[in-house]
């Protein structure tokens, strides 16, 4: 059925609003714009893993700045997804030290196993593949980051399978940035 109503304007949940109020306390009153990056992280977590123009407008309104001030920032930083993404965004490190320990092979394997190419989302909507630069975990390369978790030493098919299995079984619910999945974060 086709909807005739205008899209509902996004609103922050009470929990997010409380977190945003706490963040504003961190900066001088006339410098609330400082809270832009932390609030964008909250917005991305609240609204499905990406920041639509409407969500960015909400961020601008919340801080009291112009929408363009949000757009120019969200497009500068790689962590903000400007298009819809799957349930899990797999950020594969492709930089030198990871490449030395097999990140090219890892990317090829993930493309094969998920059915998505880098930059795409798998047909089942579960996985979006994204290539990123050094994630400060080069000692346990090659690595993939999914939200707050680092999957390290993904240099065997077993390790990659175990990662995908864990993610497939993860109870899906919207997670705010300050909530954690409860998985171990990192070996180091």
């Amino acid at each position: 059925m086709e909807s005739t109503t205008a899209p509902v304007k996004p609103q922050f949940s009470p929990a997010a609003q409380a977190e945003i109020a706490r963040l504003f306390e961190h900066y001088p009153a006339e410098r609330r714009k400082s809270a832009l990056l932390p609030i964008l992280h909250i917005a991305q977590a609240e609204f499905g893993g990406w920041v639509s123009p409407e969500v960015q407008d909400l961020v601008a309104e919340t801080i009291g700045i112009l929408p363009i001030e949000v757009y120019e920032v969200s497009s500068f930083y790689t962590m903000f997804n400007l298009k819809p993404v799957g349930q899990h965004v797999l950020e594969i490190c492709r930089t030198g030290p990871c490449m030395l320990r097999g990140s090219d092979e890892l990317t090829a394997q993930l493309e094969r196993l998920t059915g998505a190419k880098v930059g795409e989302t798998s047909p089942d909507g579960l996985f979006t593949l994204k290539e990123v630069e050094c994630l400060a975990a080069c000692g346990t390369a090659p690595i993939v980051q999914v939200r707050e978790k680092y999957y390290e030493q993904l240099d065997t098919p077993e390790a990659v399978d175990a990662m995908l299995a864990e993610l497939r079984n993860l109870v899906h619910r919207p997670l705010l940035p300050w909530e954690q999945t409860g998985l171990a974060h990192s070996q180091q």
């Binding site: 714009k33 990056l37 932390p38 930083y77 050094c134 707050e148 990192s186 180091q188």
Partner: protein, 447 residues
Amino acid sequence: MGRKLLTEHINVPGIDTFEVYRKHGGYRSVEKALKTMTPDEVVEEVKKSGLRGRGGAGFPTGMKWSFLAKPVGVPRYLVCNADESEPGTFKDRHLMSRLPHLLIEGMITSSYALGANTSYIYIRGELLYVLRILEKAIAEAYANGFLGKNILGSGYDLDLHVHPGGGAYICGEETALLESLEGKRGNPRNKPPFPAVQGLYARPTVVNNVESISAVVPIINDGGEEYAKLGVGKSTGTKLISACGHLNKPGIYEIELGVPVEEFIYSDEYCGGIWKGRDLKAVVAGGSSVPILPKELILKTAAGENRLMTYESLSDGGFVTGTMLGSGGFIAMDETTCIVRNTWSFSRFYHHESCGQCSPCREGTGWLEKVLHRLEHGHGHMHDIDLLVSVAKQIEGNTICPLGEAAAWPVAAAVRHFRHEFEWHVTNPAEATRPGAYYSSKAAVGV
């Protein structure tokens, strides 16, 4: 075993909690500084220690602190650079996630020395879990009277906040970091004015690396002179080296500055040698921005002396035969490494991370990547090799911030020391572009 000043207690269970950290001598530097020292005396101890910035540039920390402008009635800031994004560097993440209170203690003692009443830890956004660890530890420090109003009854007030970035290597550059902390794109600022005069919110500001600020703790506890007894010459104290690449035991090692490079690579106390019983081909010793050196030159200087893990020894010979200690990101490459491919990968990184403000960097990094891509993929010409050197030269010295040089130096060094590998890609494109192919002086080609 060298002495460990930062990581001595890192494996103690529960050391990330206030209680256990305190039991192991934590927060003594705050008590000592606030109760028995003036801020200037703290700065003096840091000067005496000879501590040099651990973020990459190696600038003496005490001297940097003494440059901070102190106009009356104007707030000033200490900002910790926890953006850690230099490829090959992963020590700050380790230090913060395992010993969050060490950084917080260092921030309190350092903020007191600088007269800052609000301080920030700017952490790269990807390290969300570390941000939560730090926030928990900060809450504990507040609850125990080490942060907030009138700390330990000294009359000194300090608020400390953690601030996440959004994913941009350039925000590690200190003025880009300040722009980012103000909620803007991370475009580096023109200097002067320097942050010491006009930094965060145009107020006087000091920006220091996580490891530098953590090192203030043992310096104040034991005295600057004691700290300076460790190390060699102007490379005092200990340094965290994050070792990666083709090593048997990659990881984070706190070394006393002065360990021979050969010992660091091959001894079991450190990296345990090259993996799979292979030979070493090259090392990038201080993060991807420093010049690459072939095995012979990383182990010994051009004059045949043992190369040591110090600022001076690693830079012996300048850029012709030397390199830099940089951030301590130590990347080892075995004999099967393709230097052209590796150089291309790093160029892609710098091109991707250029903020685009100045044309020599924006266009130059693009050219470097493009030319390296075609050499690596078998479409290069002999003159492309000199083109790389020429583009690198045109970037150097012509940009707002040092990212331009960081992109140019490694390419120039790779061509300087491994020109034969680049030529081989031009003369033998079919072989060189086979997956996994690498140039070897022993066999013509290996796969």
